[in-house]
Symmetry: C2
């Protein structure tokens, strides 16, 4: 069945210190904001935060795993980082179909990440090619 505007899906993950270290090593992002307690205490956040792109990547996982699902390919993603993610926070990514093109297998989705207190962390939009 074709996708419909308004369809939505969500995925949650608790961001652990292990995840932060794995991501830092994988992409080479050793920003002390993420890794160094002493440095992080001097920042506006007062303690270490997770990499924004780690939480943002949950959107990619959700698009691939569920909506639109297997074989989805990214065309674009915009990301506004609204609030920080702290180690131990549970991030919920939610995607909602906002546009389905008639002429091409291209779908636009609103993408939002929130935390366990329902605070918005990341807002944006994805455009994907569906399989």
């Amino acid at each position: 069945m074709a996708l419909q505007v308004g369809e939505t899906a969500a995925l949650s993950k608790t961001i652990t210190d292990d995840d932060i270290h794995t991501f830092a090593d994988l992409v080479g992002d050793h920003n002390p904001v993420h890794l160094d307690d002493e440095f992080a205490r001097t920042t506006r956040f007062g303690r270490r935060i997770a990499h924004g792109m780690l939480s943002a990547s949950l959107i990619s996982a959700l698009l691939a795993n569920e909506l639109p699902g297997q074989g989805t390919v990214y065309l674009s993603q915009s990301l506004r980082f609204v609030a920080p993610v702290f180690p131990g926070d549970t991030v919920t990514a939610r995607v909602t179909v906002t546009k389905v093109r008639e002429d091409k297998p291209i779908v636009t989705l609103e993408t939002v990440c929130t935390n366990q207190r329902d605070e918005t962390l990341i807002k944006g939009e994805a455009v994907v090619l569906i399989a």
Copy 2:
């Protein structure tokens, strides 16, 4: 010294199969486009591709490691995925300062990822808060 419009920095990384599996496990993105040779052969790409967000995350690393550097915090990132990254490709992320605000410690950078054949993979813009 204050940042100047036109300042630029780059970072390269070869995306291995190990990297792709590490990223897939970390964020839970097991899209067969990335992991399953047989499925990938049936796609428009003809073979497995790396996760777009893995290459995009190199931009985050570059912003944190070099320009603007330590303590940089993301406000926003836009990403247009122009061409796929195949396992074994070397991705070069490049950021170039396009705007420095006078009133706030906020910098805008053009962000581009290219491969070893100098083909553009990802285009976009980052807005960051500098430490």
